[in-house]
C-alpha cells in the first residue's frame, strides 16, 4: 500500500480559495431566496441591494449567485486532493476550462457592475477577487505542467 504524497502549497491554497468562494456564493444565494438581505447592506442598500435586484442579477432567469455557487461546488470537486493526485489529463483540462470560464463570467459581471449599474457590491467583489486568484494560481499550475518534475531525495539516491 503506497502512502499518498502530501499536496503542495498550490493545491492546498486553491482548495481553500474554492471553499471560501463557495461559502461567499452560498451566503448570497441564501439571502437572495430568503429575502433577508446581505449582512451590512440592510441599512445602506445602494450597492448590494441594487446589484442583487437589478435586471443583470439574473442570467437566463437564474440568479447570478447560483452560477457562482455551482462554479465553486464544481471547483471544490475538481480541486480536491483526489483530483490533484489523479493522473487523468482530463481533470487538469476540466480545471483549466472551468477557471477560464469563471474568469470570463466574472469580467462580464464586473462590466455590468461598473458600466451598467455604477455600483460595486463588496460581496460580489470578494467572489471576483477569489476567482482572479484562482485563475492566477491555476495558470501557474498549467504553465508548469510540461516541466520535468524536481528530483526527490529518494530518486537521487536510487540514481547513485
Amino acid at each position: 500500500v503506497r502512502r499518498a504524497q502530501p499536496l503542495g502549497w498550490l493545491p492546498r491554497t486553491v482548495l481553500v480559495l474554492c471553499v471560501l468562494g463557495f461559502a461567499d456564493s452560498g451566503y448570497q444565494v441564501y439571502t437572495h431566496f430568503s429575502g433577508t438581505g446581505l449582512l451590512g447592506c440592510s441599512t445602506s442598500t445602494d450597492p448590494c441591494v441594487l446589484d442583487q435586484n437589478s435586471i443583470y442579477a439574473w442570467v437566463f432567469g437564474i440568479p447570478v449567485a447560483v452560477y457562482g455557487l455551482a462554479f465553486f461546488a464544481f471547483m471544490i470537486v475538481i480541486c480536491s486532493p483526489w483530483a490533484w493526485r489523479s493522473r487523468l489529463r482530463v481533470i487538469r483540462q476540466a480545471r483549466t476550462a472551468a477557471v477560464v470560464t469563471g474568469m470570463i463570467f466574472v469580467l462580464y459581471l464586473i462590466y455590468r457592475e461598473v458600466i451598467s449599474l455604477g455600483r460595486i457590491c463588496p460581496y460580489c467583489t470578494s467572489v471576483h477577487v477569489i476567482t482572479v486568484l484562482l485563475f492566477g494560481l491555476l495558470m501557474y499550475d498549467v504553465a508548469g505542467s510540461g516541466l520535468p518534475r524536481p528530483v526527490t531525495a529518494g530518486e537521487a539516491s536510487h540514481g547513485n
Binding site: 445602506s44 441594487l50 435586484n53 439574473w58 455600483r119 482572479v132 501557474y140 504553465a143
Partner: protein
C-alpha cells in the same frame, strides 16, 4: 601498480563522478529556474491581462461625463403628460401584450390586502431611484384603467445614481379614486442626499407600520416595492430604464401610444402585466379591461 597510484586513480574517478553529478544538478537547477520564470510569466501575464481589462472598465466609467441636473417641468407639460399616460388606447395595449416586460411573483397563503373591501395596490419607492422611475410609468398606466389618477408631478431620478436623470412621474401628491381598487403610493425617499438614511436619501413620505411590515416581508430590502393585494409582488424591475434615456416626459408619454416603439413595449407591456394581476383580484372587472386581448396575453407572464 602501487597502492599510492591506485588510491590516486580512485580519487580521480570519484572526482570526475562528483563533477558530472554536479553538472547534472546545476543543469536541472537551471531548468527549474527557467521553468519557474516561465510559470510566473504566464500566470502573472494572465492576471495582468485581467487586471488591465478591469482597469479599462473603471477608466471608461470615470471618463463618462457627469450627468447634468435636468430642468423642471412646467405645469402645462405635467397636465399634458398626465392626460397621455392615463389614456393609452386599448388598441395600443392589445397590440403590445406583455411586450418586453418581465413578470411578477406570486404570493400564496397570505391574507388579502384590502381597503374598504377593495383590493389594495401598494407602491413604495423613492424619487431618487432610477428603477422606481421606470416602474411608475407602468403603474400609472395600469391603475388608470381601473379609476382616475391625478396629481402626478414630473421629476427625474437622481443625477448621481445609475440611469441618471431618468424622466418619470412622482406619486407624492397623487390622488386616486376607483370603485374597483385602492391605490396607495408611498414615495418613501426624495432625491436629496442624506447618507444617514437607508438608501442614502432624505425621507419624503413615511409608510405606515403595516406597510413597512409588508416591505420587510416581501420587499428584499429593495425599492421599488409593489404589492398587488398580497397576491403578486414585483420581484425586480419589469424593465430597465435605458429605453427612457435622453427622452423628455412628453416624448415618453407620446411613445406610450405607439405600440411599435421600444418605450411602449417596455411600459405598456409592464402595465398590461400589472393590469392582469389586478384583474385576478377584481374578479375580472371591469370586463372591458380584463377581457381585452392585451391583458389576456399578459396574464401568461404572471
Amino acid at each position: 601498480m602501487g597502492n599510492a597510484a591506485r588510491t590516486k586513480a580512485r580519487a580521480r574517478t570519484a572526482g570526475q563522478a562528483r563533477s558530472a553529478r554536479q553538472k547534472i544538478a546545476e543543469s536541472r537547477a537551471a531548468d527549474r529556474r527557467a521553468g519557474v520564470r516561465r510559470r510566473l510569466l504566464l500566470a502573472g501575464g494572465s492576471v495582468a491581462v485581467v487586471l488591465a481589462l478591469v482597469a479599462t472598465l473603471i477608466a471608461v466609467k470615470l471618463g463618462q461625463s457627469p450627468p447634468r441636473s435636468a430642468p423642471p417641468a412646467g405645469a402645462h407639460t405635467a397636465a399634458q403628460v398626465q392626460q397621455q399616460v392615463t389614456s393609452v388606447p386599448a388598441a395600443t395595449f392589445n397590440a403590445v401584450g406583455s411586450g418586453n416586460a418581465a413578470g411578477l411573483s406570486t404570493i400564496t397563503g397570505q391574507p388579502a390586502l384590502t381597503i374598504d373591501g377593495k383590493p389594495e395596490v401598494l407602491y413604495i419607492g423613492g424619487e431618487f431611484c432610477p428603477y422606481c422611475a421606470a416602474e411608475r410609468w407602468a403603474i400609472a398606466a395600469a391603475v388608470s384603467r381601473f379609476g382616475a389618477l391625478s396629481g402626478l408631478s414630473l421629476i427625474h431620478s437622481a443625477p448621481s445614481d445609475s440611469y441618471a436623470n431618468t424622466p418619470t412621474l412622482s406619486f407624492a401628491q397623487a390622488s386616486y379614486t376607483s370603485k374597483y381598487l385602492a391605490f396607495v403610493p408611498v414615495e418613501w425617499f426624495g432625491e436629496a442626499a442624506d447618507p444617514s438614511n437607508p438608501f442614502g436619501h432624505v425621507y419624503l413620505q413615511h409608510p405606515t407600520a403595516q406597510e413597512q411590515a409588508l416591505f420587510a416581508r416581501y420587499g428584499s430590502q429593495a425599492i421599488p416595492f409593489l404589492d398587488i393585494g398580497n397576491r403578486y409582488i414585483l420581484p425586480e424591475v419589469q424593465y430597465i430604464p435605458s429605453s427612457l434615456a435622453g427622452l423628455s416626459w412628453t416624448q415618453i408619454a407620446t411613445a406610450m401610444h405607439d405600440p411599435s416603439s421600444p418605450v411602449a413595449k417596455d411600459i405598456d407591456g409592464a402595465a398590461n402585466i400589472i393590469t392582469a394581476a389586478i384583474c385576478t383580484l377584481t374578479h375580472g372587472q371591469p370586463a372591458g379591461v380584463c377581457h381585452s386581448a392585451g391583458v389576456q396575453a399578459a396574464a401568461g407572464s404572471l
